[in-house]
């Protein structure tokens, strides 16, 4: 190997290490690791975790017939505890019909339209959040395991670029806070690494349960940039990247966050 070749190899290796970032550099921490003990206790206690109210709602929706077909989710999928186990851990997944990744909420709406013949739920609607939380909850405790389908690679890469791209009037990228400064404090709060381990989750700031997209929109508004509309491809690509970055971390849905 010549000297320039060796130099290029070293640069490439360094770039790869930097790109993988937090995942390789050492300890990955879920948002729950950075929370106050009281908030962690709230998440752990199913009798006090407000997110469980939505799980309960989702459980009822799972059995409710809908659409022209008049079937419920349970009509085809049976008991969710068995059929939905591991599903959230694999999403966003590649959707052959659209040639793009689809997130869990999008998948639920796809099935609603195609199999039940019903109107898809509006983004961030109570029904969609409840069903998504209920389905994701069936994967609680399981490690995130995004698909290694090679067709997802370009979308994951786009998600990574979005994560590293500066935006907004404050001209900040996700990486600058959640990669370079994770663990340090901003206005008294610990900056988390930003792993989507518990979505949809109950956020004390919202006094409500919301999706990852809601959280991303909040961050974008925080750096004074125009958030993408709900359902935008950018969110799905970002989620795919974030979930890959969190591969192996256990799902906590419904999480509680400050």
């Amino acid at each position: 190997m010549t000297a320039p070749q060796r130099r290029r190899l070293l640069v490439a290796a360094a770039a790869t290490a930097l790109a993988v970032g937090v995942a390789a550099a050492g300890e990955r921490r879920s948002g729950s690791d950075d929370m106050a003990p009281e908030t962690r206790a709230m998440q752990r206690d199913d009798t006090a975790n407000p997110g469980m109210l939505w799980v309960q709602e989702g459980e009822a929706l799972w059995d409710r017939p809908a659409g022209r077909a008049g079937t419920a989710c349970s009509g085809c999928h049976g008991a969710a505890a068995a059929s939905m186990r591991g599903v959230a851990a694999r999403h966003p997944a590649y959707d052959a019909a659209s040639g793009r990744p689809v997130d869990l909420a999008g998948r639920i709406n796809q099935y609603r339209e195609a199999r039940q013949g019903a109107e898809p739920f509006a983004p961030e609607s109570q029904e969609l959040l409840a069903l998504t939380t209920f389905v994701a909850h069936q994967s609680r405790g399981m490690p995130i395991a995004t698909s290694d389908d090679p067709r997802l690679a370009p979308f994951r890469e786009r998600g990574r670029r979005l994560f590293e791209e500066r935006r907004g009037q404050l001209d900040l990228s996700c990486a600058q806070c959640h990669e370079d400064n994770a663990g340090r404090r901003l206005a008294g709060s610990v900056i988390p690494q930003g792993h989507p381990t518990g979505y949809p989750l109950y956020r004390l700031e919202w006094q409500d349960l919301g999706s990852l997209q809601r959280r991303l929109r909040g961050c974008m508004a925080g750096v004074r940039s125009e958030p993408y509309t709900y359902g935008a491809a950018e969110y799905i690509d970002l989620e795919l990247f974030l979930m890959s970055r969190a591969d192996g971390m256990p799902i906590e849905t419904p999480a509680v966050r400050p």
Binding site: A36, E38, M42, L186, A187, S189, E205, W206, G222
Partner: protein, 149 residues
């Protein structure tokens, strides 16, 4: 001889640990709410037998877990009639007022409350004999970093 920086550093550490601040004049509304709850016993409220459990530092004021525990045998002749929780700096002084009796078994309530800013909490317990006991606690409230409108 410690440097000024070392002394200041130690002082900052101390300030973070010490959460009990010297009693300050309570705002009028809190006083009025306490008087209204205690009635005739207002002049003789004594600290003790009541304990507020609340984290001294809270990362979000929207849902702060609070427990109020009152020592009492809770028998037919010696029980806690009511527990009331008040705050100092929210728009309104009352938080929650619970009515109990011997059927409760224990004088202990837990809930989650909203705190608009760092402030003092006051808990009063009205005993079956007519006396009123109290406890207070200071809570520091930090806010989420990126506050959405």
């Amino acid at each position: 001889m410690p440097s000024r920086r070392e002394v200041l550093g130690a002082g900052a550490g101390l300030a973070a640990v010490v959460t009990v601040r010297p009693a300050r004049a309570t705002p009028e509304r809190l006083e009025a709410a306490i008087r209204e709850f205690a009635g005739e016993a207002a002049a003789e409220i004594r600290a003790g037998r009541v304990r507020i459990e609340v984290p001294p530092l809270v990362e979000n004021g929207n849902a702060v877990p609070v427990t109020v525990n009152v020592e009492s045998p809770m028998t037919a002749t010696d029980f806690v009639r009511a527990i009331a929780l008040f705050n100092e700096r929210n728009p309104q002084p009352n938080v929650v007022t619970a009515r109990l009796g011997p059927r409760a078994g224990r004088a202990r309530i837990a809930t989650r409350i909203r705190l608009a800013t760092s402030q003092k909490l006051v808990a009063l317990a009205e005993m079956s004999g007519g006396s009123v006991r109290s406890d207070s606690a200071e809570v520091v409230v930090t806010l989420a970093a990126c506050v959405e409108g």
